[in-house]
Subunit: 369 residues, 2 copies
């Protein structure tokens, strides 16, 4: 493949991979194993987070070039929520792994269809408020990675010393505005370090959104994560044929559970960051949802439902639309009610929710999680 | 009617009137207008409070002599819950009034069927733990009222200076053990007075359970509450005929809204109290339910549902049986979840719940109450 071919290829080679296999434990009880957060209409807009992700990327590609990588359990709900995506574009993982196997498989699949492909990889469960800025960032980024063997991540301008995000330190600039070499990655820093990061202006939140050419990321796997590469290279003759799923069913469980950041991005020397301000939240936690939601004069947030609150402050109320919550005297709480589970928990303790979900499963069974 | 006839009459003249038309606002959101507290399986025993009341009195009478006075809206649910009670024994009030009209109508109805009738009148939504003591108290009380023109109320040995109950002061003893003349009635005293009441040993909680002969209570209405008496006397020829309901539909709304205590018991000079210790609670409030429920080592009460509580104390959790509540950091709260409504409220503020229910109705509509 020569560089000129990439430079001349048009937008029909642009693919999008939406990762939507997560279980969203931290958002229990809204997020449930049978319907995790990405499939929920979180904001009562009539569209799930996955559908919003799809709607957002659609202007830059075509349903036939949007792929969904997910767990087998979610096939039906994806067909229902995204009927325009061809069924063969839904890549079903037989077991849960981290993001590296997902990215590697999708890259193989797409490369076999179109060796000139460039790919934007997106999480399915983030909030992005500035849609047209998003379109510009993706278009500029794809053009940048199509122009060379480059791995690009989107780094978001931080607005607080958040300790739940990874941070990317920008390095040398490139010819393209807002795209720079990456100097360092730092996973979830402590608050002191996060404050320093924020004050320097050099650090950006790691969004989990990536762009690269299919050939570039496959090359990077071969070099930096040979274990994963070996698993998926073995299926080369099967992508994208009816045999692919048989191969995946056997091979996929052998892939290591490792994130794309750890497997590739933190190791490779051709990694770039495109800085952006997208009105973004990863909605990874109740706190993130609280922060990104409009508040009333008592700093309470009402998510979807009806609330009659007295003497409540800084509290997030989330329930189904037809539910009423009457509460008094709660300060900085999460009140989240869905189906057979109700959570009433201090927002400050939300990191314990993952453990709580484990406890619930152990004591009361799978039907509650 | 001669005294001898009453003395010789057997248990087939014993009737029971269960009052079950209340709306139970204070127990919102468990108690709802379409299914108030008396129709709920409060303790997860498989029987509603009404059914438990019925089960409790059944050994002393027969389904054919158990009458239910209720609001028209609850006919279907009563038929469903008490299929053995003949439909004609369900007296349907066309509008909501207090207890005096209910008692007066039921007495007329029963007297027309059986002029020798004695009647035990019971609320439908109380908790009684000591069932065999209850049977003895009722049997002894009925015998007492069958023996003369006497109005008898059950007074319960108080175990705390409760300010939500009425108190009855006992007077001179009678020939029958534990049955005494009533010296005074006091509606909901303040806490200082309630403490004095408790310390003297002379005061008993007014249970709202009454016994009398049908002729005695009708005579008392004529004497002490002529307004109510006049309304129901006018239907004498219609009890108990197919014309009765037509008469009631027209006449009942003209009856004053007045309690039997205020209309008769506090005025009459032939009023007696039978003192008892029944393991009783009127379950009138969340606090009453809390007090009468078994507690864990953190003084939390779990009503029916599953709870995973950390750092919670003195809190009452109530929800449907298949619901799990995960909570942290709540002290002395009510957490009550049912259907489309969730209440999270300090137990100490429960007297505000009635107002809350009004607010909910005003702001969000009837479907929430």
């Amino acid at each position: 493949m020569k560089q000129e071919e990439f430079m001349n290829h048009n937008k029909e080679h642009r693919y999008c991979v939406i990762m939507c296999g997560g279980v969203g434990t931290r958002f229990w009880p809204f997020s449930r194993t049978d319907k995790p957060k990405q499939f929920l209409d979180f904001f009562g807009t009539g569209r799930s987070l996955l559908q919003l992700t799809y709607d957002r990327i659609l202007p830059l590609t075509d349903p036939s070039r949007i792929l969904l990588v997910t767990n087998r359990a979610y096939y039906d709900i994806i067909r229902e929520q995204l009927p325009d995506v061809p069924p063969e574009n839904i890549l079903l993982e037989p077991v849960r792994r981290n993001t590296a196997p997902c990215v590697c498989w999708a890259a193989h699949h797409i490369y076999a269809i179109d060796p000139l492909a460039s790919i934007v990889t997106l999480p399915s469960d983030h909030l992005i408020l500035r849609e047209s800025e998003f379109h510009q960032v993706i278009a500029r980024g794809l053009e940048f990675v199509e122009g060379g063997d480059r791995l690009l991540t989107i780094g978001l301008k931080p607005n607080s010393p958040h300790t739940g995000y990874g941070y990317i330190q920008r390095g040398k600039p490139t010819d393209v505005e807002n795209i720079l070499k990456v100097k360092s990655f730092t996973e979830k820093p402590n608050v002191e370090m996060a404050k320093v990061f924020l004050s320097t202006g050099e650090f950006f939140w790691n969004s989990g959104m990536f762009m690269w050419r299919a050939d570039s990321i496959l090359k990077a796997f071969a070099k930096y994560d040979p274990e994963t590469a070996t698993v998926f290279d073995a299926g080369e003759k099967d992508y994208p044929t009816p045999e692919e799923m048989n191969f995946i069913d056997k091979a996929f469980p052998n892939a290591p559970s490792i994130s794309i950041d750890y497997a590739i991005m933190e190791k490779a020397d051709n990694v770039y960051v495109e800085t952006a301000d997208l009105g973004w939240s990863d909605l990874g936690t109740w706190n993130a949802l609280y922060e990104s939601s409009p508040k009333n004069s008592d700093r309470n947030v009402t998510q979807n439902c009806k609330v009659l609150a007295s003497d409540c402050e800084g509290t997030l109320f989330a329930a189904d639309a037809d539910k009423i919550i009457v509460a008094a005297g709660l300060k900085d709480y999460i009140v989240a009610d869905r189906g057979n589970a109700l959570l009433i928990y201090p927002l400050a303790d939300e990191q314990k929710i993952r453990q709580v979900v484990n406890d619930v499963t152990a004591r009361f069974g799978e039907e509650y999680v």
